[in-house]
Symmetry: C2
């Protein structure tokens, strides 16, 4: 990985105070990049100033919303790389307010790309998409040839947002790539509630020494530790072969929810959970088992997950035991 | 086909003064339905009052835009069926003004579905989607299992619009179906320019006794005559098996552009065309050959195209020879 290609490079990260954005920023700072973060700090989303407590003097922070076209037009100028991570990620929010989801995950993506086309067509963009686009799998593991059949408004809008990126690569030659993330976890994730990931609320409950709830239990899942996602963002941004392409990320293993819960308790050195029947109102959009085939990014870009689930969960729990107050 | 199921039924057709909408209205009137048309009459789109000259006393026309949420909230109430045909269809317009395309093909679709969810969840909806969602085919003929890889903003937004319909069926039980139309032609299509279909401008030139232009020539295409599309809309709306499903339409034959041009001249009893190299700026989004596999709708709903290309073109040319002045 030619990470030193980032030395002195100007980087824009949308969603930069969020979970993945802040971890990416930390890595890029270490590689000598000049990092500009932009984040809306909408309380229901993932942005949190504490995520950059250790690097706050080494990054520039601009608080604005990706829906703010004028702000984005200014911020994309002069940048070498854009890591376009900002998004609305909550299933429930997307169903209750589909228009806000559309504005953020569709319209703002389009206006971000238009800003680059007009003001910085030479920029290199990596967009974070999601395995939610696939919906309920026809086969496992799910590779990039699987049909997209999103099961919520969020998935549909993310699908459009992803494809605007691919289109602007193909039509306008603005170099873009998209990564379809599976369940990402690690220090910096939202743990106040399950808006970002169910693992968040599990961690919170464990750290607060309360039992957490497992919905269902038999469903198979895969998980990527945030450092591995950061690796993927970096190798994608640096490799010409990734331009105009979409890659799945994946995890080091496939685990049922119950086994995930057990693994978390092992990582925590104790704790309890209860099992709850999958709620009826979510049954209709239940995707059953899901795990990714990430062999495309492995063969094309040499990425694969490095951090075993137990290690990743241990690090995550340690982080939140030490920093819980900043995430409530 | 149990067409008499429409007798006395209340129907809303968006894009009702357009090409397909007006032909559908005529058929439904004949079946004894009460038909309400809504159309924005935006000059660049397909709406044209002349399209309903013969049925204007038998339908209700409301001029408003699908982006007008309040108007739609009112209009969907009390209806049995919604044929949701309104859309921005121009490739070029979608690239030059991606936001307008997004407002019409994404946001307005969402707000139409929200209007139905809140005010008329029992309505039956058929949405017209497009083969443009597939982009450049991996294999031919293209069936519904083919990946979606849209090559313009219009295709991406139509993809989102289609999926909102499927989602509202799956999550909220609002019965919807989507048809992916291929090249549709016939009386009532826009012929002023090629905004709706290249066949439009060909017809105009022929009727005006000028040579028309063929771009490229070897590309294979399929065509559906508008009466066949109307048949498909009707069988889809009436069949429970179609709920939550997406079907390709297709044509009676597969023809190169050059042979299409020759067929049109035969249908016209004379005329000329010139062949022009495919323009470089469109080469990047050229999809090459395309034709649909429509065996799914044939086996599930019993639909297949009835009108041979030569007959359809003859009827079309006859119509425009008689009515040219109303379409310029």
């Amino acid at each position: 990985m030619e990470e030193n290609n980032f030395a002195g490079k100007k980087i824009l990260i949308t969603g930069g105070l969020g979970f993945i954005g802040s971890n990416l920023a930390r890595r890029l700072i270490g590689l000598g990049a000049e990092v500009q973060l932009v984040d809306s700090l909408i309380p229901e989303y993932g942005g949190n100033f504490f995520n950059i407590y250790d690097i706050k003097d080494q990054v520039n922070v601009n608080v604005s919303d990706v829906r703010d076209e004028h702000s984005m037009c200014y911020l994309v100028q002069g940048k070498d790389f854009l890591f376009n991570l900002a998004g609305q990620t909550s299933h429930l929010d997307s169903m209750q307010n589909p228009y806000a989801d559309l504005e953020i995950n569709c319209r703002a993506q389009l206006s971000m790309l238009e800003a680059c086309r007009k003001h910085n067509p030479g920029i290199r963009i990596v967009f974070t998409s999601t395995r939610q686009l696939y919906g309920k799998p026809d086969y496992l593991p799910v590779d990039e040839k699987h049909l997209l059949r999103p099961v919520d408004v969020n998935g549909i809008n993310k699908m459009a947002g992803e494809w605007y990126h691919i289109l602007y690569n193909n039509v306008y030659g603005i170099r873009t790539s998209a990564l379809r993330l599976t369940n990402t976890y690690g220090p910096g994730m939202r743990i106040k509630d399950s808006r970002q990931t169910f693992l968040g609320i599990w961690v919170r409950m464990l750290v607060e020494e309360k039992p957490f709830e497992v919905w269902g239990g038999e469903q198979l899942r895969d998980y990527t530790y945030v450092d591995d996602v950061v690796n993927a963002l970096i190798v994608t941004a640096l490799n010409d072969k990734a331009e105009g392409k979409i890659f799945n990320l994946g995890g080091d293993c496939v685990v049922s929810l119950l086994d995930t819960a057990r693994c978390m308790i092992e990582a925590n050195g104790g704790g309890d959970f209860t099992v709850r029947k999958f709620p009826a109102e979510r049954k209709r959009i239940d995707i059953g088992d899901y795990y990714s085939d990430y062999s495309l990014i492995r063969s094309e870009l040499g990425w694969e997950p490095q951090v075993p689930l137990l290690d990743g969960l241990s690090k995550t729990l340690k982080y939140y035991r030490e920093n819980l107050e900043h995430y409530l």
